[in-house]
């Protein structure tokens, strides 16, 4: 059923009791053309683009938990593309291009809101670094511009730009085209659109092994519900990517860290945009429900626990209260953690692997949500054509051997 004002009206007449199921819970078949491991936004999106753009519909998405229950459902929904290097600008801007019009394409409201992302500069170093980013972005055709402290205050009135603030604001970089989207909707929308094209979505079915033939190529996956064959496997397993890759005998340049977020009690609209402060690890926006959505920094140690330490949250909230004094008396409702897979250069790995038929989309670290449609599209392309798209070609695994890193870690000097 196509969602529209008319279908909403028609279903209102029947008391909203006759809406059809959005996607069926599939039972695994013996084999598929392509198996995607991980039913987050990236994996479901890849299945959708495989079916939609490349005509490969005999696809299964296998998920150990529930659909969208990993980092897709745990992030702070920030979307932006103001990265320094040419390769990054292309891959993240490709994603923003796809965010535009995604709701219409998949007939599902992902609530993409271009409310603008403001990145605060607190020191001379920040100012110089951000202006370099802005110039690099403009050369790459990526929207980004400089605001003085007063202009930033006019754009985002809750900011404290007082000269004697603990974290003085010397200015900010504004990407107006950036913003937020509804994270769950992205997973649900892709799932519904992919299922409508014939993709099987198999939940509660952990992959326990990857089977390889005598020639080394993949033959399928062992799962909790038996063996499922496929000549092509795309792994989009975020924090657990190292674990899945080890099943194919591969060691990856990844480390998995806890990353936390939290939301406040809901209040009336007060934050008109997203504000990020990399220097003090504070990321904040307001959801359409009215909650302040706040992102914290990563814990320092490798962990798969999906929870982090309180002192990380305390540091972030201390910064938020300094930058936005009016939030000091607000209460926080929920905190949670996800597991983010981080590469040495803080850029993703998206492409082929040394194992024939095995493709990977990992290493998005603390910023994978923004890339969802782009990563999904490029993973689908790479699987369908058995070669990377020019946009994701630089994000190969071989760069760690050849030395051609895309060092956004050095560019940003912090997690991002």
């Amino acid at each position: 059923m196509k969602y529209s004002a008319l279908s909403l009206f028609a279903n209102a007449l029947s008391g909203h009791k006759k809406w059809p199921q959005q996607w069926p819970d599939a039972t695994p078949k013996k084999s598929y053309d392509v198996i995607i491991v991980g039913a987050g936004g990236h994996g479901l999106g890849a299945a959708y683009y495989l079916a939609r753009k490349h005509g490969i519909t005999n696809v299964a998405v296998i998920e150990k938990g529930w659909l969208g229950g990993g980092n897709t459902g745990r992030n702070t929904t920030i979307i932006r593309s103001n990265y320094l290097y040419d390769e990054s600008a292309r891959i993240y801007d490709h994603a923003v291009d796809l965010w535009d019009g995604l709701s219409q394409e998949i007939n599902y409201n992902v609530m993409f809101s271009k409310r603008g992302v403001l990145m605060l500069a607190h020191s001379v170093h920040d100012v110089q670094s951000f202006q370099r980013h802005i110039h690099a972005n403009r050369l790459n055709g990526v929207d980004n511009r400089w605001l003085t402290a007063e202009e930033a205050k006019a754009f985002c009135p809750p900011l404290n730009i007082s000269k004697d603030a603990r974290y003085p604001i010397l200015g900010a970089a504004l990407q107006q085209r950036a913003g937020t989207a509804r994270h769950d909707s992205v997973a649900w929308g892709y799932a519904r659109a992919a299922a409508a094209l014939g993709v099987d979505i198999i939940q509660n079915c952990a992959v326990t092994g990857i089977k390889r033939g005598a020639d080394g190529a993949v033959e399928g996956v062992e799962t909790e519900r038996g063996f499922i064959g496929a000549k092509k496997i795309g792994v989009s397993a975020a924090g657990n990517s190292s674990v899945i890759m080890e099943m194919a005998g591969l060691r990856f340049p990844l480390e998995s860290y806890p990353l936390q977020a939290l939301v406040s009690e809901p209040i009336k609209p007060v934050m008109p945009c997203v504000v990020m402060s990399n220097s003090v690890h504070a990321y904040i926006s307001q959801s359409d429900k009215g909650e302040l959505v706040i992102g914290a920094g990563t814990d320092q140690y490798v962990s798969y626990s999906q929870r982090g330490a309180l002192h990380i949250i305390e540091e972030t909230l201390a910064s938020i209260c300094e930058i936005f004094p009016l939030f000091k008396r607000m209460r926080m409702l929920r905190t949670w953690g996800g597991v983010v897979d981080v590469t040495p250069d803080r850029s993703p790995i998206l492409g082929k692997t040394p194992v024939p038929g095995l493709f990977v989309n990992c290493g998005w670290g603390t910023g994978g949500f923004k890339a969802t449609p782009g990563a999904a599209d490029l993973l689908a392309y790479t699987i369908a054509k058995d070669q990377p798209h020019p946009i994701n070609a630089p994000f190969n695994l071989e760069r760690f051997t050849g030395g051609r890193l895309i060092d956004e870690a050095a560019a940003a000097a912090v997690a991002h």
């Binding site: 480390e255 760690f400 051997t401």
Partner: protein, 94 residues
């Protein structure tokens, strides 16, 4: 917050006194001139990132300022043991 036992101070102290220092037992190559690109990549970038028991280094930054090793479960975050640099790594019971 983790509670970590420093093997030098012989005390369990809160995590904020410590800095994480990455995977343990990765030896710096003794023959850097002869190393292939693959071996450099393995040394510099490849990590076991184990889901389960993980050998790792910590620095008691705001204590004795010494590095030590630890064996910790990365799913429960529970420390199995901590031990001094130079000591043999404790074997993992299968």
């Amino acid at each position: 917050m983790l509670l970590i036992r420093c093997p030098y101070c012989q005390e369990e102290r809160p995590e904020i006194e410590f800095s994480y220092a990455g995977e343990a037992h990765i030896a710096r190559p003794l023959n850097p001139d002869d190393l292939s690109d693959e071996s450099w990549a393995e040394y510099l970038f490849i990590r076991s990132n184990r889901r389960g028991l993980h050998y790792e280094r910590w620095l008691h930054a705001h204590g004795c300022a010494q590095f030590f090793n630890a064996l910790r479960d990365t799913v429960s975050d529970k420390f199995e043991t901590t031990y001094k640099i130079g000591e043999a790594r404790p074997q993992v019971k299968k």
